[in-house]
């Protein structure tokens, strides 16, 4: 058995209805491996929120997932507008989501705070005009 399983996803930015597919497929894979359900829940939520953000705010991007027996690492990279004030973006309730996705229940400004809660380690690097990279790690034990 390999020590690391790697998944890579391209998240299209032109079709909002596809958002969430990547995290859904990682969730299925984790179930098959038999990872602890609580860990699956955290990974699924963290990645889902990050993936949705990429589509809503950054026009898509790519996600790399590494699964080891000890941890799940996710790296989400986009080349969108970037986040000018990361501290502000991390606050609960801060949102710039457009109206058309709000009626679907997005835009509460809870995504980044939830990602923080669900991961054991999270860093956000962002350059305005160039893009955003979010790294999250969820420990398996």
């Amino acid at each position: 058995m390999p020590q690391t399983i790697h998944f890579q996803y391209t998240v299209p930015g032109d079709d909002f209805t596809r958002a969430g597919e990547a995290s859904s497929s990682v969730k299925k894979a984790l179930k098959k491996i038999g990872i602890n359900p609580e860990v699956i829940r955290k990974v699924a939520i963290a990645m889902y929120e990050g993936e949705i953000n990429m589509v809503i705010h950054a026009g898509g991007g790519s996600i790399d997932v590494d699964i080891t027996p000890d941890e799940v690492r996710m790296v989400l990279v986009d080349h969108g507008p970037g986040i000018a004030n990361i501290d502000l973006a991390m606050q609960e309730g801060w949102s710039t989501a457009p109206d058309d996705v709000r009626s679907l229940g997005f835009g509460a400004g809870m995504g980044l705070p939830n990602m923080k809660k669900c991961s054991d380690d999270m860093t956000v690097e962002s350059v305005v005009g160039q893009g955003t990279t979010v790294r999250m790690t969820v420990l398996c034990h």
């Binding site: 949705i52 009626s103 679907l104 229940g105």
Partner: protein, 439 residues
């Protein structure tokens, strides 16, 4: 005029002939005759208001018993999105779907999947500019029936796609035939429904000649056995393949939200729906692309066959769909034929007074005259919902002004007065036994 089937029946023994249902009916389709409620079949739109309001439970929804499953060799459950909002603390739709298998279904096909197909197809049709704006959703059978009898000008605005459950039945049957090799008749596509109007939609579909749904069972009937089987599920099979959009259809606003277009309106509750349709007819609503209408308050979660309070169900639905992919089903390059209307919806002029306009106008002024003679209390004692309705019944030939208790009282008073007057004409010796002779 075609014969109308309806999904509401009356238990004559329980009916006391009170006025609750006649007052509440949005199309004035109920009269009390000989002490019992009577539905005017051509006017009923299956909204379920009378079922909800009857304090004696005399109005009963019609649907199939769970045993309908036994009639089919291979049975596919078609769970409505509203079903997902009925359970506590649930984050995983697969538990619900696996419980349905536990109950004896051989397979499930989520109606939410077909809902996503309708959403995708609607987005396509709207972006191609092929539809009359504002587009009115076609999913609620009560709304399409209401438009058909009361708002003929809006028929062309109805989205020409079949309701999700109908599409789901078609897709499910096709898939089951391919999988099992069984003929269509051996496969039962059974809808797990929040509302009895769907029974009518199966027996008398609008927009298509024939429905592929084989049975309509009530959410409230499957709920107790499902609770049991949900506990039994250890390793749920992966069955769920609908997303946030599809499940969202279960409550008001969900269909509209899935269009990713701000210019929409979503109204629910039959009274509100009627107001919106009236404003649409008068072109009062300005620049809208889409109008979602649900006859039940809260949307399908408010159907009379559900168990949970609609607003609580809405909150639960929100929870269970929170981390689902936005959508999992799409139409591809072309909208499949089985998703489209294959017949037009025809205006049913049941409320029109006469086919001939001159005659209709005469009747209308006659109604005015008669109605003006009534007190305007709308007491309902005559068995009609309002004084105007009674006046109309009189002109249509199925009521009499004497049905009005106040007119009757006035007539009795006049009669009593004339009797009193006549009394004066009776010779005194007969009139007063203690008269002159006693002195």
């Amino acid at each position: 005029m075609s014969q109308f089937f309806h999904s509401v029946t009356l238990d004559r023994d329980l009916c006391r002939g009170c006025i609750n249902c006649i007052k509440r009916c949005p199309t004035e389709a109920i009269r009390v005759r000989d002490g019992k409620a009577k539905i005017l079949s051509d006017r009923c739109i299956d909204c379920g208001e009378c079922i909800r309001v009857c304090p004696h439970h005399a109005k009963k929804p019609l649907f199939d018993p769970l045993s309908i499953m036994d009639q089919y060799q291979y049975r596919v459950a078609l769970p409505a999105p509203a079903l997902y909002g009925q359970f506590n603390n649930l984050d995983d739709p697969d538990l619900i779907l696996n419980a349905l298998l536990g109950m004896g279904f051989d397979d499930v096909f989520e109606v939410a999947r077909a809902a996503e197909i309708v959403s995708d197809a609607t987005r396509k049709l709207m972006s191609e500019g092929l539809l009359t704006r504002p587009v009115i959703s076609s999913a609620c059978p009560t709304v399409t029936r209401l438009i058909r009898v009361r708002f003929p000008d809006l028929i062309e605005n109805i989205l020409p796609l079949l309701p999700p459950v109908e599409i789901a039945a078609r897709m499910a049957k096709k898939a089951a035939m391919e999988k099992t090799g069984l003929p269509a008749e051996a496969i039962g596509a059974i809808f797990i429904s929040p509302c009895p109007a769907k029974v009518t939609a199966v027996k008398m579909p609008l927009g298509t000649r024939q429905s592929y749904i084989d049975g309509v069972v009530a959410i409230r009937d499957v709920y107790p056995p499902m609770l049991h089987f949900m506990k039994e599920v250890k390793e749920p099979r992966e069955l769920s393949s609908a997303g946030r959009m599809g499940l969202g259809w279960g409550s008001s606003g969900g269909e509209a939200a899935a269009l990713l277009n701000d210019r929409y309106l979503a109204a629910d509750g039959i009274e509100n729906v009627i107001k919106v349709l009236e404003d649409l007819e008068d072109e009062k609503l300005g620049d809208l692309d889409f109008v979602e209408l649900n006859a039940c308050s809260g949307g399908c979660v408010g159907g009379v066959l559900t168990v949970e309070n609609p607003y609580i169900a809405k909150a639960k639905l929100k929870r269970i769909r929170k981390y689902l992919p936005v959508s999992c089903n799409r139409v591809g390059d072309a909208i499949p034929r089985y998703a489209k209307f294959d017949t037009d919806i025809q205006y049913e002029p049941v409320l029109q007074l006469d086919e001939n306009i001159t005659v209709a106008m005469e009747k209308l002024s006659e109604i005015e005259t008669i109605a003006n003679a009534f007190k305007g209390l709308d007491c309902g004692a005559c068995g009609a919902p309002s004084c105007r309705a009674l006046a109309e019944d009189v002109v249509r030939g199925y009521g009499s002004p004497d049905d009005c208790v106040f007119l009757l009282r006035d007539r009795m008073k006049t009669l009593a007065d004339s009797i009193a007057q006549l009394e004066h004409h009776i010779p005194k010796q007969f009139n007063d036994p203690f008269g002159d002779s006693q002195k």
